[in-house]
C-alpha cells in the first residue's frame, strides 16, 4: 500500500483529494492546500480585470497541478474554446470538462461532454469530464479518450452527499479509469464512504468554502479520504443479512 498512487493521464499523485478554489478567500488557498494535502487544484477561466491587484496563481503553492475547468460552457464548442484558452495561460494540459445548459440544477450535459472530450483528447489534453453517472456515457467517455471520469454525487454546491451512490458504484465496478467523485460531497464521512466504495479520488469545493473553519475541514477531508482508501484496499468486512455472529469465543462461559 506504500505505492498506492492515483494515476491520471500518466501523471502520478499521492493525494486523492482534488481541491476546488472557488468561493473563498485567495488568502486561504495555501492553508487549504496544505491541510488537504492536495496536489491538484481546480480553477475557472473568466474575463480578466485590468485592475487586478492579486492573481490566484500567486497564491497556489509550487508543484500543485492546476486543473482548469470549462465552467460557463453551454456546449462542446464553448468547452473546447475555454480549454484552449486555459492551456494558453500556460499551466499545463489538464482540463476538467464542465458543460451545463441548465442553470437551476447545474447538471452536466453528458452528450456535449462526450463530444468535447473527444476533441480535447485528440489535441493532447488530459481530459477529466464531469458527468452525470451513466454507464453508457462513461463508456463513451473512455472511448473518447478521457483520462478519468468525474461523476457527480449530488447537485453542485448542495453538500447533500452520495445521492447517486448506486450509479457511481456501477462506474467504479465497470470502468477501467479513475472514477473521481465530484460535486455534492458535503461531509468527510461522505467522502470516506465514496472512497470505501472504490472511488479513486474526491473533488470538493463548497464543503470547504461553507465550513466553519476551512483549513480544519480540509484536514478532516484528507483524513477521511485516506481512511476510506485504506478501508477499500484492505477489503471491507462482510455484512450479514440476518442474524448475528459472535466476536467472542462460544466456549468457556462462566457457568455450568
Amino acid at each position: 500500500m506504500q505505492n498506492d498512487k492515483l494515476i491520471i493521464g500518466g501523471h502520478k499523485f499521492d493525494s486523492r483529494f482534488i481541491l476546488g478554489s472557488g468561493k473563498y478567500s485567495l488568502k486561504l488557498i495555501e492553508a487549504a492546500v496544505k491541510y488537504a494535502g492536495a496536489q491538484i487544484i481546480t480553477l475557472a477561466v473568466r474575463r480578466a480585470n485590468t485592475k487586478e491587484e492579486e492573481n490566484i496563481l500567486d497564491y497556489i503553492p509550487e508543484g500543485v497541478t492546476l486543473l482548469p475547468n470549462t465552467s460557463g460552457a453551454r456546449n462542446a464548442q464553448e468547452a473546447v474554446r475555454i480549454a484552449r484558452l486555459a492551456r494558453e495561460l500556460g499551466c499545463g494540459d489538464f482540463v476538467k470538462i464542465e458543460i451545463m445548459r441548465d442553470s437551476k440544477y447545474l447538471l452536466p450535459d453528458n452528450q456535449e461532454t462526450i463530444k468535447a472530450t473527444e476533441i480535447l483528447a485528440s489535441e493532447g489534453f488530459v481530459v477529466m469530464p464531469y458527468m452525470y453517472p451513466d454507464l453508457n456515457v462513461a463508456r463513451d467517455l473512455v472511448n473518447a479518450g478521457a483520462a478519468a471520469v468525474m461523476p457527480l454525487a449530488a447537485p453542485i454546491g448542495s453538500n447533500k452527499g452520495l445521492s447517486t451512490g448506486d450509479f457511481i458504484q456501477i462506474l467504479i465496478d465497470e470502468i477501467d479509469l479513475p472514477i473521481i467523485v465530484d460535486a455534492g460531497i458535503g461531509r468527510p464521512s461522505q467522502a470516506c464512504q465514496a472512497m470505501e466504495m472504490g472511488a479513486a479520488a474526491i473533488m470538493a469545493n463548497t464543503a470547504l468554502a461553507t465550513a466553519g473553519d476551512l483549513p480544519t475541514m480540509a484536514e478532516a477531508f484528507r483524513l477521511a479520504i485516506e481512511a476510506g482508501r485504506k478501508a477499500y484496499l484492505s477489503g471491507l468486512g462482510r455484512v450479514l443479512t440476518r442474524g448475528a455472529s459472535a466476536s467472542d469465543p462460544l466456549t468457556g462461559f462462566l457457568r455450568d
Binding site: 476546488g20 478554489s21 472557488g22 468561493k23 473563498y24 485567495l26 488557498i29 481546480t42 480553477l43 475557472a44 477561466v45 473568466r46 474575463r47 480578466a48 480585470n49 485590468t50 485592475k51 487586478e52 492573481n55 490566484i56 496563481l57 492546476l66 482548469p68 475547468n69 465552467s71 474554446r81 484552449r84 484558452l85 486555459a86 494558453e88 495561460l89 499551466c91 453542485i156 454546491g157 460535486a183 473533488m203 469545493n205 463548497t206
Partner: protein
Amino acid sequence: MVKINGTELDIAGQTLSEYLSSTDYNIKRIAVERNGDIVPKAMYGETVLQDGDSLEVVGFVGGG
C-alpha cells in the same frame, strides 16, 4: 472600434502589445483570443488591431 471583453474601444491601428501595455493587465497571467482564435504571446507585437475586431482577454479565477 475594437471590442475588448464586451467594451468598444477606439484602438484600431494599435498593436495588441501597444494596447496591453497601456493597461494594467499582467501579461504573464492572461490569454487573448481575437475573433475566436487564440493569439500566442509571441504574436502580440505584430498583431495589429483592426476596426471590428472582437477580443477576449481572460485569466484564471477561483473555481470548482
